[in-house]
């Protein structure tokens, strides 16, 4: 697994993709956080990072599929999948190696935004007047959200040779899982079970983490979605044998 992980990270860093993705992410979130008046913290008047954690998932929805779309599609198209699959390694090692490489890149792109926390902390009146626990919980939630989106991206990359298809499917699945269930739960028809439907989506669990509360139920939810997606990926790789 570790060999695949190293190779994937090298591929990211050797190509421009990683740098473009990280700079687009940081520029985008920087503009939204500090410049655009509508969402700017400076105009908001409260020393908190709420807007960052609300906006981030929507940026991730596009950026993470862009990172993960090539993972399997490219190898399938170039035929290098055959090279990997005839090596003395298990299929799941290939999947995990690629998945963690993607996750590494996601974590790497979130890292510089920790600076925002310090900035806001010093902008506060009095200095340090920020809900640190809330921010920590939110960051943890954001990382898990990134992990879920990466697993979705890995999965959708595994069943097509076409990177664009992989990207579009991943964006849709991310959007649906994040926001879709929440929206459906507001339909009058489901008023009786709206809570249950809401809990199927990521938004519910993400919001609960933003409060700085790390609940085992939310963790179980995130880890089940991730492992489910990776198991589906494994299933699709194995389907060549049917």
């Amino acid at each position: 697994m570790i060999q695949i992980l190293i190779k994937e990270i090298n591929v990211f860093l050797d190509s421009l993709i990683a740098y473009i993705i990280i700079s687009v992410f940081l520029t985008g979130i920087g503009l939204l956080m500090w410049v655009f008046p509508e969402t700017s913290v400076l105009d908001y008047g409260f020393a908190e990072m709420g807007s960052f954690f609300t906006l981030c998932p929507y940026i991730f929805m596009f950026l993470i599929p862009a990172i993960s779309m090539r993972m399997f599609s490219e190898e399938k198209r170039n035929g290098t999948m055959e090279l990997l699959l005839t090596r003395p390694i298990r299929d799941i090692d290939i999947i995990l190696g690629k998945y963690f490489a993607g996750l590494f890149l996601v974590a790497f792109s979130i890292l510089p935004t920790l600076l925002y926390y310090y900035t806001i902390r010093y902008l506060g009146n009095p200095v340090g007047n920020i809900d640190t626990a809330g921010v920590a919980g939110s960051y943890f939630g954001l990382f898990l959200l990134g992990a879920v989106f990466t697993s979705i991206g890995t999965f959708s990359s595994s069943f097509t040779e076409n990177q664009v298809t992989a990207f579009i499917i991943a964006v849709f699945l991310c959007f649906f899982l994040y926001f879709g269930f929440n929206a459906i739960s507001t339909i009058g028809l489901f008023s009786g079970i709206s809570d249950q439907i809401d809990q199927l989506g990521i938004l519910y669990h993400y919001n609960s983490m933003s409060k700085g509360l790390i609940d085992s139920r939310d963790l179980v939810y995130f880890f089940s979605v991730i492992s489910g997606m990776l198991l589906f990926t494994n299933l699709i790789l194995r389907s060549r044998k049917w």
């Binding site: 060999q3 170039n78 090279l83 090596r87 044998k241």
Partner: protein, 303 residues
């Protein structure tokens, strides 16, 4: 060390790609897979390497079943797939190191092996180039280098010489011959001369079935009842005259040559010589066409 293929069958949906093939191979053998396009050569190779599983039958590489203990069997196989897929964005030595890391855990040993392979495959000048920048011949060498890197007992090469120029073909063949002494090499090809030049054993596959399994020299001498002798006279003579010689089946004029088809069991050449002397013709040339692998191939694979 051996390969054991037993009653191997592969069915894709309804199409039978490989139909009950069995063979065994021992150390030191170079086996040539011959067959028309779509005969099932690549499929057989993909099954041996564990890329796809067989529908029926078993394959054992060095005693390890490719389905039940894939990790161990793959550790013993070096594989060069058809079309030689490579990571074109990687540097040659980077790619070889990556492949090495999948087989070998000792990093220093990987580095040593990569250097050895670069030397062996003649990639010294190209080792710091991107694979994308390499010509077809050098890419093929990279493919061969990655297959040899972990010093496997078994080498599976799917059309290793396609798209190479004649010099490169001879070099690659030399390479294969050199490394084959302590290994089993299975390679597929369309080129008959290659089989004659390289193989210690030929397997001809047609429509998924094994139609021949023998050493190349034996194969050449089977399957023919008649033989063609081309004769050239200084004078212009009527071909019909030669027909009277015993053992001659048919006679054809082709340019200045007369092609004489004769019975396989009778050597008619002395009779032709005598015939020329008796009739007062000047015999300028006589050439018995050798039975080539092409003929055997055509005979065995034409339906």
């Amino acid at each position: 060390m051996s390969i054991e293929v037993k009653n191997l069958t592969k069915v894709f949906n309804t199409q039978v790609a490989v139909d009950n093939i069995s063979f065994r191979a021992q150390k030191g053998e170079i086996i040539g897979f011959l067959g028309p396009n779509g005969a099932g050569k690549s499929t057989t190779m993909k099954i041996i390497t564990g890329y796809i599983p067989p529908t029926e039958g078993t394959v054992k590489v060095c005693g390890f079943d490719v389905v039940h203990s894939p990790i161990q069997s793959r550790q013993n196989i070096g594989y060069l797939p058809e079309h030689n897929p490579l990571y074109t964005d990687m540097y040659v030595h980077e790619y070889l190191r990556f492949v090495g890391s999948l087989h070998i855990s000792n990093r220093r040993f990987i580095r040593e092996r990569v250097l050895e392979m670069i030397e062996l495959c003649g990639l010294k000048k190209e080792q710091n180039k991107l694979i994308r920048a390499l010509s077809k011949g050098f890419r093929q060498r990279v493919g061969l280098a990655q297959a040899l890197l972990h010093d496997p007992e078994v080498l599976i090469l799917d059309e290793p010489t396609t798209g190479l120029d004649p010099n490169q073909i001879i070099e690659i063949r030399g390479l294969i011959r050199n490394i084959s002494k302590h290994k089993i090499v299975i390679f597929s090809t369309h080129i008959m001369q290659e089989v004659q030049a390289l193989c210690s054993r030929v397997l001809i596959i047609n429509n998924g079935r094994l139609v021949a399994d023998d050493v190349p020299d034996n194969l050449k001498n089977i399957q023919k009842e008649s033989i063609i002798i081309s004769v050239e006279f200084k004078e212009k003579i009527d071909p019909e005259l030669i027909k009277s010689i015993e053992g001659v089946l048919s006679v054809k004029q082709k340019d200045q040559f007369i092609l004489v088809e004769a019975d396989m069991d009778v050597d008619v050449r002395p009779a032709i010589f005598k015939f020329a002397g008796e009739k007062g013709f000047t015999l300028v040339g006589m050439n018995q066409e050798a039975n080539s692998m092409e003929d055997v191939f055509r005979k065995l694979t034409q339906n």
